[in-house]
Amino acid sequence: MLKKLLKYEWKDTCRLLLPINAAIIVLTVLGCAMLSTSIFDSEASLFFAIPLLLLYVLSIVAFSSVTIIYIYVRFYKNLYTAEGYLMHTLPVTPMQLFHSKLIVGFSWFCLNSLLSTLSFMALGFAAGFHLEAANINYDAFNMNFNPFVSFADIFGYPLPIFLLWTLALLVLSAFSSILMGYVSILLGQQMERNKLAASIAIYFGIYMVIQIISSVAMMVPEIITLANTTEEEFTTNFLSETFRVAFPVVNLIYLVLSVAFYMICRALANRRPNLD
């Protein structure tokens, strides 16, 4: 039955999320095509280059926001409004219903994050190749460097390890983000009235608590590092030290959150609903 639920979940979510992700690809191809021409080479071109760049960044952020909001709305609407009368009377277990939403929502969010990251990288590389091909000399490109050694100096990890940490961050943040929304909706459903308003309030409450905990968790190792190094060393290694601390700490936070949210979701989703 889970396979059937997944089939219909994919089919229904494709209607909106497929065009959104296709739009990211189209935007990236257009951006790369524009960057590989010489239209941005002159200083005068900054006049329209900056608004175009802003528009691109805003579009990517908007696509990501729409994706996550749609995943939350879909979970709420399909299970806890009129459509829930059909879904909760299907001969399936509550966990099959929950997992079908989680797997599909997580996949779409990962795809969206991956495409957004690749889009930024593609545009960065396109700009770099064009600058090199056009022999435009910038200080950064005059360095005769080994990319792997330099990368580790700047970002605290060799490139392959850095990419692995980034991938782990992408997966864990996607998983915990989806589950945070689901937890909020499921907790809101435990209220007797104003369930949607309660869900939204719970979501922002959890978000604020996580932000405070993350900030503290990030600051403590930074302060310890600062106390054990000279000011000059700290300034020179600031970026690499930040990444060295941030990746394990943030990944650990997301991992703990994912496990905690999943356990709460399991307990709540297994309860019988109270549909209005």
Binding site: Y8, E83, G84, Y85, H88, T89, P91, P273, N274
Partner: protein, 231 residues
């Protein structure tokens, strides 16, 4: 074997008691009218039987099984409002039902749609509210279920549509199956009922065979209902 058994069902919302200590049994092969005025707890009881509400106390068993995938596999439920995604085509909804319910008869569904001249390629939102309700009824009655639970199928429709609905219900259920039908339009369905359950202020007022009830009072069920629930 008892088809449906409700044991000491109670549902409260804060201080308000919607249902209080309801117990009854239903056997196969009967048409049961769940009757009561607005707010008497009919829909709450139906939602509890279908697992859409969690009871404050008490239990529901369908063929001796608690509410779960096994019970949902043999209960066909029509809610009192439209509940299908209106952006979906009729044929896709038929496909959905056929995928999930082993007892769903697609041919019967298409046949009934054709009789009503409903184009399966049409999206639900392009159909009138009355036609959408008929589509829902067709889907529910196209199952070979053991228990059909119909919540207010006659509410808000014209007399001609009522006739169609009743005819659809009567001509599409198996002899061994039972139908629990909630309504306050008693005169329309009195002749097809075998049993009635009267709910009054969330409590079970009467559960009796229609013939016995008529013989005892020498009155129609409609008249008895009006007397019991006189304002």
């Amino acid at each position: 074997m008892t088809l449906l058994e409700c044991k000491n069902l109670t549902k409260t919302y804060g201080k308000h008691t919607a249902l209080s200590d309801i117990s009854f049994q239903i056997d196969g092969g009967h048409i049961i009218g769940l009757l009561g005025p607005n707010g008497s707890g009919k829909t709450t009881l139906i939602k509890l039987i279908n697992g859409l509400l969690s009871p404050t106390s008490g239990t529901v068993y369908v063929k001796e099984e608690p509410i779960g995938p096994a019970s949902k596999n043999i209960v066909s439920y029509l809610p009192d409002h439209t509940y299908l995604n209106k952006n979906t085509r009729v044929q896709d909804i038929i496909g959905f039902f056929a995928d999930f319910y082993e007892d769903f008869d697609s041919l019967r569904a298409y046949d009934m749609m054709a009789k009503l001249q409903i184009n399966p390629l049409q999206k639900l939102k392009t159909l009138s509210k009355g036609t959408q309700e008929k589509v829902q009824l067709i889907l529910v009655m196209s199952r070979h279920a053991s228990l059909y639970i119909l919540d207010e199928p006659l509410a808000g429709v014209d007399p001609a549509a009522r006739d169609y609905i009743l005819e659809t219900i009567l001509s599409n259920y198996d002899e061994n199956a039972s139908i629990l039908i909630s309504t306050h339009l008693i005169s329309d369905i009195e002749n097809i009922l075998d049993e009635v359950i009267f709910l009054k202020d969330g409590t079970l007022h009467t559960h009796a065979l229609v013939d016995e009830l008529r013989e005892q009072g020498h009155k129609s069920v409609d008249t008895i209902f009006r007397e019991v629930f006189k304002c």
